[in-house]
């Protein structure tokens, strides 16, 4: 439904996006995730048509809406692209009621059809009783829903959401992101979301592209991003964890301070050529997630509790290993250990993520 092929964008000499390619199937929800300034918002604005691309092609529903392969470069204007856009600040029209905001994009319909569509949209987002209110009378969450209803009302081919929940407080953010996902799935809408918040991305999206410096570092499912990060940036940006130095022993064994890790080493190495290139004795960094460390009183391997953070359902311990290295450990909340105490741990890793030093 949406396809970007080798898209590049630059402001003057400064490249903002380079060689960005990805595609979304109909009904799929994608997400561009990255720190601020990584180019994700520019990508969104290119797709909406507010920016001109320097190279590449963007297709929506099979139709090229922007391409540099023709001369002169072709660029369909935003209003002709039939995409919906939910703005970060919602951009609701302050002089129009909720109802009229939602009806704003419904040009072709008769008055009756329009009324029906607006009612349908307001029911969908649960705001039927606020139809006559003005934007400033609504809470942040309600404004968000109006913005969504307004964007969806003209039945866009693609819905774009720019940091849609960043103006809301944390609890509402979680609740609303699930709600919005349900609505999009129910209506079978293809959508692309842009955010810097990993939780939001994972809660909403089927597939996520992690971006940095204008490049998509990895385009994958949330599960794979967490468990099989393609490079150090993704490993660091997604989830928590530490890198421990280790040495490759064979194609399926890496030795670290905690012992020998067994796993499919070569597939997981993000460096050029992968760990298949590794010779025996090649030094690597191994990614250890907090859930890779299992607390086990019976284990002979002891580590000292250096810091702890109680998170309700579990503790996040920072442990000091006998050799001086540190790991994070996620431990059930009833295992309350004091700082300085030595506790038994063992490794629970089924695949190894290692990066060349």
């Amino acid at each position: 439904m949406l396809a970007l092929n080798h898209v590049a964008q630059s402001y003057g000499a400064k490249p903002v996006l380079s060689d960005v390619s990805f595609a979304l199937a109909p009904g799929e929800i994608g997400c561009l995730l990255g720190p601020s300034g990584c180019g994700k918002t520019t990508a969104l604005r290119l797709i909406a048509g507010f920016e001109q691309l320097s190279a590449g092609e963007i297709r929506i529903g099979g139709e090229a809406v922007a391409t540099t392969s023709t001369a002169p470069a072709y660029q369909l204007s935003p209003e002709q692209r039939r995409v919906g856009l939910v703005f970060q600040d919602y951009a609701l029209f302050p002089h129009l009621s909720v109802e009229k905001n939602v009806a704003f994009g419904l040009h072709a319909l008769s008055a009756t059809e329009r009324r029906l569509r607006v009612a349908e949209m307001l029911a969908l987002v649960g705001l039927s009783h606020e139809a006559h209110a003005h934007p400033h009378q609504l809470s942040g969450g309600q404004q968000q829903r109006v913005a969504l209803a307004r964007a969806l009302a003209p039945k866009p081919r693609l819905l774009l959401l720019d940091e849609p929940f960043s103006n809301l407080d944390v609890e509402l953010r979680e609740k609303l992101s699930l709600e919005v996902r349900d609505i999009l799935k129910h209506e079978a809408i293809t959508a692309l979301l842009v955010t810097h918040d990993q939780h939001e991305a994972f809660a909403m999206a089927d597939i996520v592209g992690v971006m940095n410096h204008g490049v998509i570092q990895q385009w994958d499912t949330p599960y794979k991003l967490y468990h099989q990060p393609a490079n150090r940036f993704v490993a660091d940006f997604i989830g928590q964890g530490v890198l421990l130095p280790g040495v490759v022993i064979s194609t399926h064994q890496v030795e670290i301070e905690l012992g020998v890790l067994e796993g499919n080493v070569d597939g997981d190495c993000g460096e050029a050529g992968g760990c298949a290139q590794c010779e025996q004795g090649c030094p690597v960094d191994v990614l250890i997630r907090p859930d890779d460390i299992i607390h086990d009183d019976a284990s002979p391997l002891l580590a000292e509790v250096e810091r702890k953070a109680f998170r309700g359902a579990d503790f996040l311990y920072t442990l000091k290993l006998p050799g001086g290295g540190h790991v994070l450990a996620q431990v059930d909340s009833h295992h309350n250990h004091a700082i300085g105490e030595k506790i038994g741990i063992r490794l629970g890793i089924d695949h190894v993520v290692a990066f060349h030093k």
Binding site: A48, F50, S77, P78, E79, R81, V83, G84, L85, F87, Q88, D89, A91, L92, F93, P94, H95, L96, F104, G105, H107, R150, A151, P154
Partner: protein, 541 residues
């Protein structure tokens, strides 16, 4: 067709902006060129007999009014914004009402009241044997101007105090600073840019004022320009005096621009509502109420009531067909001028929005600098080139046909409207600019994604959102033109009297009652935008 439309919409606003900037610069350049090749004889005369008095008078007037409006405006703003005392809610808006009275009206009412034959002195003489009050003095002018102009500082200082929010003052309190000390340590320094902005506006009005000083026979640059123009018929002398005045004005503009750049003190943090007011008790509360009431009485109530009394004495005998003509002329001028100002301000606003470049910023600043130029200067600055153009045309016509014709542009409404536009464009531009700023770029984009661009977007999103600012701009420009005196006096067509010029002529003859009737009309219309302003600031809080 589409290309032509595109070219027009591309070029239109930008051309308007540059045209407006040039328009405002014409009088400055004309007046300044008088300084480049000064007439030595005139210059000597001015230097020896005229300038010393003008400089001394202007210095004391500016100093007195500056100190007076700062103390009065800031003090009252702090009282109504940060304290609670009986009548506070009323005085908070009532203290703005003197803005409706032109200074020259307040001036003639007080002279009428306190002059030798006035009500109060007559009573004082009869009862206590006290001689006349020295109202026609330097102190008298300063006092009346302070009463008329303090609202400028009051308005900007109130806005500044209200914008500070409670958080900073609370933070000061947690750090062991009392509320009263926090005023001097935090509130006042933070409000300083606002106060300076209000002060420079009040001082510009002081320098530009013609009517008030004329009533008091207190010679300043504006009265000297007027005399050079009408009594000596000396355009060069008028121009040279205007140049010196412009020099002072430019110093003020610089001051105001500097304060503008530092105005970002106000905290816009969400949910940081107004500060908890200090509840005054006992003597302090009584004093606060008395202070506010005294200023309100002297600056608004007494002049207004006296005007109405005078007008009512005479309305039966003096209200005749001539008044319809005065009012008609005033309304026509104000309506035409306001319409022109608003459309030009809108074009300038769009030019700035479409081309947010530093060059365009500068153009907009230049185009709106006319608010600082005194009306007397603008009158001279526009009259000179128009007269030159007329002479050129007359000569050309004579050499071509051998016939004599009169002046073509001079003494027509066109010159007046041009001068009004130059002077009051800023008044209209302010609301339009802030109105446009409230239409965010994402709103434009949202409209575009939903299929509304160009004129459709203008009519569906922009115009509805701009209705209130455009109305405010029109109302402000309308009232300012209605009150305006020197431009009207110096450039009107022969015998073309307006309400303002009628007030001036009757005051010159000490006919207070006959001056009161047109003055009442001006003041009542002047109240309209004040109520608009009050309503607007109520809606904001």
């Amino acid at each position: 067709m589409i290309n032509a439309q595109k070219a027009l919409s591309r070029f239109g606003p930008r051309a308007t902006a540059i045209g407006l900037a040039l328009l405002t610069l014409i009088p400055v350049v004309v007046v300044a060129s008088a300084m480049l090749n000064p007439d030595q004889a005139i210059w000597d005369h001015l230097w020896r007999y005229v300038l010393p008095e003008l400089l001394v008078n202007t210095f004391w007037l500016a100093l007195g009014v500056g100190v007076g409006v700062t103390v009065l405006g800031t003090g009252l703003a702090w009282l109504t914004a940060a304290c609670e005392f009986p009548g506070r809610a009323f005085f908070a808006w009532a203290l703005l009402l003197p803005l409706a009275l032109p200074a020259y009206v307040t001036a003639f009412v007080w002279i009428g009241l306190l002059d030798f034959t006035g009500v109060l002195p007559t009573w004082l003489r009869a009862t206590w044997g006290i001689g006349a009050l020295p109202i026609r003095s330097r102190g008298g002018v300063i006092l009346v101007m302070v009463l008329a102009l303090y609202p400028y500082v009051y308005l900007t200082a109130s806005t500044a105090f209200q914008g500070q929010g409670r958080r900073l003052l609370e933070a000061a309190q947690t750090l062991g600073v009392s509320r009263w000390r926090a005023f001097f340590k935090i509130a006042l320094p933070m409000a300083r840019p606002g106060i300076v902005a209000g002060l420079s506006l009040a001082l510009m009005e002081t320098l530009a004022d013609f009517g008030t000083v004329a009533v008091f026979n207190y010679n300043t640059f504006t009265t000297a320009i007027y005399k050079a123009w009408f009594s000596m018929f000396s355009l060069p002398a008028a121009s040279q005096l205007a140049t010196i005045l412009v020099f002072f004005v430019l110093a003020l503009v610089t001051l105001e621009q500097l304060s503008r750049n530092r105005r970002s003190y106000a905290t816009s943090a969400r949910g940081s509502g107004g500060a908890q007011r200090i509840r005054l008790r006992g003597t302090a509360a009584t004093l606060a109420t008395l202070c506010a009431a005294l200023v309100f009485l002297l600056a608004f109530m007494v002049p207004m009531v006296q005007l109405l009394l005078w007008a009512s004495h005479i309305v039966a005998t003096d209200l005749d067909a001539r008044y319809l003509a005065f009012a008609g002329h005033s309304l026509l001028l104000a309506a035409l001028g306001a319409a022109l100002v608003v459309s030009l301000a809108l074009a300038l606003g769009y030019a700035q929005r479409l081309y947010p470049t530093p060059a365009m910023q500068l153009t907009a600043r230049l185009a709106t600098i006319g608010y600082a130029l005194p009306g007397a200067v603008l009158a001279v600055g526009f009259y000179v080139p128009v007269a030159a153009l007329d002479n050129l045309l007359i000569d050309a016509w004579r050499s071509w046909t051998g016939q004599e014709i009169g002046q073509i542009f001079g003494g027509t409404l066109a010159v007046m409207l041009l001068a009004y536009c130059a002077r009051f464009l800023a008044v209209g531009f302010g609301p339009v600019e802030s109105g446009l700023a409230r239409i965010t770029r994402t709103m434009d984009e949202a409209a575009q994604v939903l299929g509304s661009t160009g004129l459709k977007r203008l009519s569906r999103v922009h115009l509805p959102l701009l209705r209130a600012p455009l109305l405010a701009a029109a109302a402000l420009a309308f009232v300012d033109i209605l009150k305006e005196l020197p431009i009207t006096l110096m450039t009107r067509p022969l015998g073309w009297d307006t309400l303002a010029t009628r007030v001036f002529e009757m005051t010159a003859e000490s006919e207070w009652e006959r001056a009161a009737m047109p003055a009442v009309a001006i003041c009542l219309v002047g109240l309209l935008p004040i109520f608009l302003l009050v309503k607007h600031s109520d809606a904001r809080t």
